[in-house]
């Protein structure tokens, strides 16, 4: 697979570039994509390196070329990932900003940028649409959060409109107007060159809205809210230029990104470019339906007309087109959409069942079906909440351990014994998590309700403690657990220790 080949090539090139195997920090020659999400992670793992090896961002991109389109287009590939920061991160911005401000020193930022993290975050593609979880229109919330945290990128990003229900807002912290223009120009002149992937990512942002005159608007209105990120941007820019020769791109993706870059090609309506994936919401759909109805129904309405009517910024004609298509299919064959696979498989069954069974029995069957489905839904919700809590706790514990590590030890010692520490932290983490889970486990009947107080107790307890990590904390946790549940967990912990 092309992706793989390019991947391996880039990995090798990455190795050439990076000081591979330096556990302590990242090679400063590695381009690091700053990313709001990345910034968040900086907070989480401030002075520790997550991965033992610096990871080059580049190899990420090609692998996504075919698959990645979620946000912008299948063509935009990897670009989409980088462009979209999770709006969840936006939600937490107030707490994160102190950390991001620490990154203002260019020299300091580099070591903090773990390419692994940046890679990790690259996949937070359409998160901007998705991460809002409160009851308000999540779009407006994400808009607000965008304003909180400077997450802007040229391209569609700045078309955040509070009134409209659209959040097609991928965002990159580091997209400063001038940088974008530079890079865009650079890429446009290098029409068929293979620019470094992550630059493409940036450029894709601008070019996604290529055909529309919005780009200049967007770029000019990029709020410079994140001065912190700018030094990083400059740094990356220089790195990009250095690595230009070395980086390769998948031919496919380069094509796609190249077409995305040049306005003419994207204006040509190539179906691959500018097809950002949009996360539709019921509210947005309502607006869509209204617009369609105003224009005379789904048959008569045209995508362009609907787009104009809806007046939702950030919505492209491609979004509307595909949505209209789905809408039409749904209307004219209401049953086929729902049960197409079903009906194909068991048409005979259905007919005979309807003949043989009375209406009441069918109703009862449906009722049973609802029971099962409700149950499954309930369990899924519970499971999901549990998973969230577990991860949240794990994160808190790890942060706590890191803080202790920083305060309690020499930095030099920490670096040299990094691996040991990690293992120890992992062990302690494991023990703590085990304690948490055991306390949850002890109460099978009401897992979620009891898990929550136990988990909260443990985390608060842990936060209060300022002793050395590992054994003491595990013991403290054990003590907490004992308070709240049976003695079994304590026994188990002691055995482990």
């Amino acid at each position: 697979m092309e992706a793989r080949h390019a991947l391996s090539f880039q990995s090798s090139s990455a190795r050439q570039l990076s000081n591979h195997g330096a556990p302590g920090g990242l090679s400063s020659s590695l381009p690091v994509l700053s990313n709001p999400l990345l910034a968040d992670y900086q907070e989480a793992s401030m002075e520790r390196t997550l991965a033992s090896n610096p990871i080059d961002v580049r190899p990420l991109l090609p692998s996504n070329s075919g698959v990645v389109g979620p946000i912008f287009s299948s063509s935009a590939g990897f670009s989409s990932d980088l462009q979209y920061s999770t709006s969840a991160s936006h939600g937490k911005h107030s707490t994160k900003t102190p950390f991001t401000s620490q990154l203002s020193n260019p020299g300091a930022t580099m070591p903090l940028y773990n390419p692994c993290e940046s890679r990790v975050f690259k996949s937070t593609s359409s998160s901007c649409y998705t991460t809002e979880r409160n009851n308000d229109s999540w779009i407006t919330d994400s808009v607000r959060s965008y304003l909180d945290c400077p997450v802007t990128s040229p391209g569609l990003n700045n078309q955040i409109d509070d009134k409209n229900g659209v959040c097609v807002v991928p965002s990159e912290d580091f997209n400063k107007t001038s940088d974008w223009q530079e890079w865009a120009e650079h890429l446009i002149t290098d029409d068929n060159a293979l620019p470094p992937n992550w630059v493409d990512l940036l450029v894709d942002d601008t070019t996604v809205a290529g055909p529309e005159p919005q780009i200049p608007y967007q770029m000019s209105t990029t709020p410079v809210n994140c001065p912190v990120q700018q030094p990083q941007v400059h740094q990356q820019q220089s790195q990009v230029q250095q690595q230009q020769q070395v980086n390769l791109q998948l031919p496919a993706s380069s094509e796609e990104t190249c077409t995305a870059v040049t306005p003419s090609s994207s204006a040509g309506g190539s179906s691959t470019s500018t097809k950002a994936r949009m996360r539709w919401t019921p509210e947005l759909h309502e607006a869509f339906v209204e617009a369609v109805n105003k224009l005379g129904g789904s048959e008569r309405a045209t995508p362009k007309g609907v787009l104009k009517q809806m007046k939702v910024e950030g919505l492209t004609i491609y979004h509307v087109k595909s949505h209209l298509q789905k809408y039409r299919t749904a209307r004219y064959k209401p049953d086929s959409v729902e049960g197409s696979s079903e009906r194909k498989l068991m048409p005979i069954e259905e007919l005979s069942s309807l003949d043989l069974k009375t209406g009441i029995e069918i109703t009862e069957a449906l009722r049973m079906q609802m029971e099962v489905q409700k149950r499954l839904h309930e369990q899924l919700e519970i499971q999901r909440n549990l998973q969230l809590r577990i991860e949240e706790q794990g994160k808190q514990l790890q942060m706590m351990f890191e803080k202790q590590q920083k305060s309690g030890l020499d930095m030099a010692k920490a670096l040299s014994s990094d691996m040991d520490k990690r293992e120890a932290i992992q062990d302690s983490l494991a023990k703590s998590e085990e304690a948490t889970l055991l306390s949850q486990h002890q109460l099978p009947a009401d897992v979620p309700e009891n898990a929550i107080p136990a988990a909260e107790n443990i985390s608060s307890h842990v936060r209060e403690k300022q002793k050395q990590p590992e054994v003491e904390i595990s013991k403290d946790l054990a003590a907490t657990v004992t308070d709240k549940s049976t003695s079994q967990p304590v026994k188990r912990l002691k055995v482990n220790e």
């Binding site: 992670y41 990645v68 009862e364 069957a365 079906q369 489905q373 499954l376 839904h377 023990k431």
Partner: protein, 256 residues
């Protein structure tokens, strides 16, 4: 391989067009041994692995959002159909013995229930893929001694495919409208369970089979594992679990 087997089974039982949208658990798992763990420089690197994972995540996101969009459209359509029925026959149309009404209402009810089921299955899709990813990451960390798992999971938690709140909301709305839509419950408890089961097997259809299968899978997966540990979920305790497992899901042909 328990999860792997279960996932495979689930994939086989699920809708045909969903089959290639699940996590390539087996493939990823097979890559793990070839990862470089510091000593072995020739193995795959973290970047590559992360790339693969990101590919998978993109796949989930794309599929999930597409399905979500479809559901939103269908939801509106169903509401409209229902609205038309009410307009035509009034809210107390249950009293009507009009055959058209009954047919259409029956069809709407079935469609709504199936719609509900499909949404729940999408949530299940999200969940099962998340579980698979978590497992893979755990294996990765174990193999390489790295610390990829925690931050990566944090990132996953913010992905569209994991954030199922909009779908959940739709499901709840669906549930409340179904409650309103169904005629007053007949003396359900008097009926024998077997009769009900039979009726369900006959009329349940693929959606229903899938939801039952999903529940069973969930139960199985959470039974407890050899590597039960820090980030594992406690076992699932479902009331009526015997009932669910008694469903005969393997024969596609209804036994009337």
């Amino acid at each position: 391989m328990k999860f792997g087997k279960r996932l495979k089974q689930h994939i086989q039982e699920t809708f045909p067009d969903w089959r290639d949208k699940f996590l390539s658990y087996k493939n990823l798992k097979q890559i793990i041994p070839s990862l470089s763990d510091g000593s072995n420089e020739c193995g795959k690197s973290e970047e590559e692995f992360v790339c693969l994972l990101n590919c998978e995540i993109e796949k989930f996101n794309a599929f999930f959002m597409e399905q979500e969009e479809d559901f939103i459209i269908r939801n509106k359509e169903l509401q409209q159909r229902l609205g038309k029925m009410i307009d035509k026959w009034g809210p107390m149309g249950d009293q009507e013995s009009d055959i058209d009404y009954k047919d259409e209402m029956a069809r709407i009810r079935k469609d709504v229930v199936d719609f509900h089921g499909e949404m729940v299955l999408l949530m299940n899709y999200s969940n099962i893929n998340y579980t698979g990813l978590a497992k893979i990451l755990k294996k990765y960390d174990k193999r390489t001694g790295g610390l990829l798992r925690l931050p990566f999971i944090q990132m996953i938690l913010e992905q569209p495919f994991f954030i199922t709140d909009p779908i959940s909301k739709l499901i709840k709305e669906c549930e409340s409208s179904i409650d309103a839509m169904f005629p007053v419950a007949a003396s359900k408890k008097k009926r024998k369970r077997e009769e009900e089961e039979e009726a369900i097997v006959v009329t349940g259809g693929l959606v229903f089979r899938n939801t039952v299968a999903a529940l069973q899978t969930m139960q199985e997966l959470r039974k407890g594992s050899s590597t039960y540990g820090h980030f594992s979920l406690p076992p699932l305790k479902l009331p009526d679990s015997d009932f669910f497992s008694s469903f005969q899901l393997h024969s596609p042909i209804a036994i009337v």
